[in-house]
Symmetry: D2
Subunit: 336 residues, 4 copies
Amino acid sequence: MRAWMLPAGSDGYQQLELKEIGKPSPGPGEVLIRLRAWSINYRDFAVASGDYFGGKLTRPAIPLSDGAGEVEAVGDGVTAFAPGDRVQSTFFTNWVDGPPRRSPALGDGMAPGMLAEYVVLPETGVVPMARSLDFGQAACLPCAGVTAWNALIEGPRPVQPGDKVLLLGTGGVSMLALEIARTAGAEVIATSSSDAKLEKVQALGAAHTINYKSTPEWGAYVQEQFGGVDKVVEVGGAGTAEQSMQALGTEGEIAFIGVLSPEGGPNPRGLMMNAGTMRGIFVGSAAMARKLNRAIDVNGITPVIGKRFAFEDAPKAYDHAWGPESFSKTVIELDG
Amino acid sequence: MRAWMLPAGSDGYQQLELKEIGKPSPGPGEVLIRLRAWSINYRDFAVASGDYFGGKLTRPAIPLSDGAGEVEAVGDGVTAFAPGDRVQSTFFTNWVDGPPRRSPALGDGMAPGMLAEYVVLPETGVVPMARSLDFGQAACLPCAGVTAWNALIEGPRPVQPGDKVLLLGTGGVSMLALEIARTAGAEVIATSSSDAKLEKVQALGAAHTINYKSTPEWGAYVQEQFGGVDKVVEVGGAGTAEQSMQALGTEGEIAFIGVLSPEGGPNPRGLMMNAGTMRGIFVGSAAMARKLNRAIDVNGITPVIGKRFAFEDAPKAYDHAWGPESFSKTVIELDG
Amino acid sequence: MRAWMLPAGSDGYQQLELKEIGKPSPGPGEVLIRLRAWSINYRDFAVASGDYFGGKLTRPAIPLSDGAGEVEAVGDGVTAFAPGDRVQSTFFTNWVDGPPRRSPALGDGMAPGMLAEYVVLPETGVVPMARSLDFGQAACLPCAGVTAWNALIEGPRPVQPGDKVLLLGTGGVSMLALEIARTAGAEVIATSSSDAKLEKVQALGAAHTINYKSTPEWGAYVQEQFGGVDKVVEVGGAGTAEQSMQALGTEGEIAFIGVLSPEGGPNPRGLMMNAGTMRGIFVGSAAMARKLNRAIDVNGITPVIGKRFAFEDAPKAYDHAWGPESFSKTVIELDG
Amino acid sequence: MRAWMLPAGSDGYQQLELKEIGKPSPGPGEVLIRLRAWSINYRDFAVASGDYFGGKLTRPAIPLSDGAGEVEAVGDGVTAFAPGDRVQSTFFTNWVDGPPRRSPALGDGMAPGMLAEYVVLPETGVVPMARSLDFGQAACLPCAGVTAWNALIEGPRPVQPGDKVLLLGTGGVSMLALEIARTAGAEVIATSSSDAKLEKVQALGAAHTINYKSTPEWGAYVQEQFGGVDKVVEVGGAGTAEQSMQALGTEGEIAFIGVLSPEGGPNPRGLMMNAGTMRGIFVGSAAMARKLNRAIDVNGITPVIGKRFAFEDAPKAYDHAWGPESFSKTVIELDG
C-alpha cells in the first residue's frame, strides 16, 4: 500500500515522502480500514517539525490523526464493526467514554498514523461515520470536531439556546464550533484578522464579528459591547487567555484548548469577580464523537472544508493549511 | 377600564362577563401596564370551573395569567422599567431567580388577573418582551413558554444537540417545546390523535410523529423504534407517565408537568433500570422567562398561534381553545 | 468445593441445600476467588421464592450476589488482579463506569452466584476490598453499600454537609446510607416501627428518629417539623413514595430503590411545587464501589453487621435476615 | 460609640486610631447590630496599606468585613430579623443567592466597616449566626469561612467522601477548608513551611502534611505520591498555581482564591491532559453563609481561633495576624 511518511528526525512537513509499504492486517480486537479521506490539524505541523510533546521523531512515521474510510476486515472478537461499514478514527485509541484516559494518540510517531491507504486500529479507536456525511466531511471531525463538541457541550457548563459564544480565528476547531454553537441555538461572536474571512464567518451564522487588528482590545470590547460571553473556545492559548477572561460573563467558561503560546500565562484572578471557570480540553472520547455524529445527522450539519486535495498532493494540502488562505478544514481525498 | 370577569362561585368560562371597573394605579415597586394581548392556558379552564387548587372562586375575579403590553406608569422605587417599555407578565409574581419560591400566581382568583385593559403588577412579576415578537406572540410565553423552557433547558439534564425529545399532544406547552427543542438541536418525536395535527407538527420540525390512537402502546414503540428518549415533556400527567417511563432512554428525564389525571400514578420502578429521573415542573422564574426571550431573539423563534381573537370575543377564544380545532396557543388581542 | 444451591423451581430459601460440586477455573479475563464471607439482601429472598424478575429458577442455582475473599488465580490477560488480592464482587458483572449498562447480575439464577467456597468472575465484576475492612464487612457492600452510595452521592444532587436525609427502616441499604450520609456531613432523620431499633439508629448518628407506627403520617410530619429534606433514600417503593414526596424540600431528590410494592404508585404531581426529582437507582457500577471503598478507608466507616453466621448455617442466616430481629446486614462467614 | 478608624491615605494598619463617633440608626430595610466580635483577613492589610482594588483610602474609614453581634433595632420593612437575634455580617452587602452579584463589600473604605461597637447593614447583608457558635467563632466566617465553603462545596465539582483535597498554608481560609473538607469526608493534604504548624494541622484531621521548604516541588510530589487531588484550595495565587496544576488529578478543580501574586501566571495548558478546571472564587453569597452555618450546627464544627484580643487591643491583633505566630483566625472581642 502507499503511505506518506515522515523520516526520523523530521523538522518539517516538507520532508514527507510517498512510500510503498506492507499492508497491515488486523489482530484480535482490531479493525482494518481502507481509508478514503483525511484532514490536517495544527498539531500535525508540530509533529512534523519535531515540536510536539515527544520531540523529534525517533523513527519514520505515518502522520495525521484524522481519517475516514470503509472497514475492509475485522480481527477476532470484533463485533461492533463489519466489512463495508463507513467509519472514522478517534484521536485517542482507547478513550471510549467518561473522564480522560491516557491512551496512544494517532499520528504522533508512536501510535499509528492515518495518511496511508490502509490503517489497522483497535476497535476502541473507531466510530461509525455520521450517515449524512461524505468521507471528506467525516475526516474533519476526529480532532477538530470532537474538540469543538467537548468545548461547547461537555463539561459542567454546556451551551444553551441564547448563550453567547466567543470564537477566536477561523481554523478548523473554531469553524466547527461555529456550526455546533449555532445548532445549539447560541449567539456567536467571532474574531479574525481578515475581513474577507469574517464575511465568510458571518455567512455561516456568526451574529457579530471582530477584526482583532482594528480592535486589538477585543476582550474588553466584547465585555462592554455584549455584556460578557458564556463561553470562549480558547484556541489561542496562554497568549490570548487574558483577553478571554476580560470577555467572560458571569459564570462563563473558557474552554482552554490552545497550545500556540508555550510560555507564561495570565493571572487567573480575572476569573474571580465573575465566578468564571477555565477548563482544559484535549480532544475527547469516542462517546463524544458518537454524540457529535448524532447531532450532525439530526441537524444536517456539514463541516466546512476550505479546500480539498488529492492523496498524491498531500504536501500541497499541508502548504495550503499552513498558509494565509487556509479557512476551516483542509482535506485530502482518494477517489474510490 | 374594561375587564372580563368571572363571578364568585363560577363553574365555567361561560360565565365570563365584560365589566367596566376602575383603572388601578401603581404603588411603590409596582408597574402599571396597558395590556395589548393575552393567551389562554389549560389551567384557566380549571380556574373558571372551580377545579383549580383553591376550589371555586370566593369573589369575582379577572382571569388569565398571560399577557403582554406597554408600561404606562411605574410606582416609587421602580428602576427596571419605564413608560413605553414592552413587557409581559410572569406566572408567579415574585419568583425572580433560583429555586422555586412560593408566591402568588396570576389569574387564580387571589392574585391579579390579566384579562383587562390594564393591570398593576409588582416589578418582580414583569419581564421585557423579546424584541423580535409582537404582543400576541409574547402573550404566549408566561405560562406555556416558560414551562417548556424549564422542562427542556433547566435542571440537571438540559437538552443537547442530537438528543431525542418526546412531546405529547399539540397544546401550547408541547408546541413551544417543539420550537425550543429544535432550536437546541434536538430530534423531536411528537404524538397526537389527529393526523392533520401531526402534519402541522412535522412541518414545524418534528422528525417523527405517532398517532396514539393507532399506536396506543406509544411508550414501548418509542423505546423499540428509537432506543429510548433523553427527555419527555410529560403534559399528560399520571395517566400517561407509565408509558413515558417505557419510552425513556438511559439517564433520560421525564419533565413532569401534567395535571390532567388527578388520581393514582405509575409505579416509579420504571425509572430504575435506566437511571431515569422525573422532575416536577411548575412553570418557572422570571430569570427563565428572560433566558427564553434571549433565545427567541437570537434564533428568530416565533411562537405558533393557532387562532387570534379580539378582546371583545374572549369567550369565543375560550370556546376555540377548549375545542377540537385548538392547536398550540389561542390568543386574544386588542388593537392599538 | 461446597456450594449452597437452590433447586430449579425453588419457592423459598428453605429449599437451600449444601452440595459438593466441581471447583471452577478461570478462563481468559476471569478471576478465581476463594470466598470468605457473604451477605444477604432483600432481593435474595425474591430469587429464592421465584418472585424475582425472571420468575422461578429454571435450573439449580447458587444464590447471593455479595461476597468477599481472596484471589486464588487469574486467567489469561488479567492484569488488574493477582493471587492474594483481597477482593469483593460487584452486583453487575460488567458495569464498570458511567451510565447503567445492562449486564448479568450475580445470584439471580442466570449469572454466577456467590454462596460457595469459590467463584469465577469476569475481571470487570471484581473490585479490591477497602483496606480497612475484614471480609465480613466487605461482603456487606456489593449490593446494599453501592446502592446507598449511588442514592446519596451520585447523580445530579449529591448530599452536602448540612443537608437533611430521610431514611426508611433499618435494613442494610438504610444503615449503610446512614453511615455514608454522616460521613458526608448530613443530618439524618430515620424511621422504624421499633423503638429499640430507633435507639440503635440514634447511637449510629441519626439526629432524629420517627416511629412510623405512632406517627403514620411521617411524610407530612417531616415536612412540618424539619422544613422538608434534601434527599429521601426510598427503599419502601411505590407504597411509601407518596409520603416521601410530602417530606421533600425544595429541589430535593427521592432516590427510588424500593421494589416492595409491586402495584400502583403515587401521582408524581407531588414533585411539582418543590421542583423535586425522583431518580431510579439500581445498585451501581464498579467505579462507584471503588469510590465507596475509598471513602470507607479515608473515614474509617465500618459497615454495621447485625449478626454473623457460619457458612454451614447459611439457612439460619436467611431465617434471621427475614425475621424481626434483623438489623442492618446479616453476614455469613467461613473461617480461614 | 467607639470605632477603630483608618485615616484617609492610610499606608498601614499601624495608623489605626480609636475614635468616638455617632452611633448610626437603621433606615428602611436596615438592621442595627451591636457588635461583639470581629476577625481579620489578609485583605484587611491590603485595605490599610492602600494596596486594595481602589487604592489608598480617600476618606477616614472603619476597617474589617467580618463581625458578629446582636440585633439592637431594625428599620421599616425588615421582617427577617428582630432585636436580640444573634447575627453575623456578609462580605457583600447585597449578594443574597445565585451567581455573583456586584455589590458593595464591607470594610473597603466605601461600604460600611465593622470594627466598631455598632454597625448598620442592609437586611440583605446579615445572616443569623450558627446556633452552636459564640460571637468570636461566628466572626471567623463571613470572609474566610464562606470562601472555604464556596471553594469546596459550591460549583460543579463539590467535594465528596473520599476525595483528596490539597490545602496551602495555615491561614484562615485553609484551616476552615480543613474542617469543612473533613466534615464532607475528604482526605486532606496540607502544606506549610513550619513543622510545628503542620503538627497542629494533623491534629485537626489532615491525613498528610508537606513542608514546602523541604519539598519545594510539592505539586509534582502530590501527583506522584497520591495520584493527583480532586480539589486544590488555591490561596497562593498565580505564584503557586503552576504547582497546583501539577498536583491536580483527573477532572480535578483548582478553586482559585489567591491574590498574593499580582503579576503573571501559569500557562493553563497544565489543565488539558486531565480535563482539569480552575474556578474563580470571590467569597460568596448570603445563601452560602446560611448553608455553612447549617453544616456547622449539624456537625459541631468549631472554627479554629489562633488567638483572641480585646477590642481595645485591635492593633495588637493586626500585629499578631501579620506575624509568624499567626495560625488560622485572629479574633477581636468585646466583653458583653
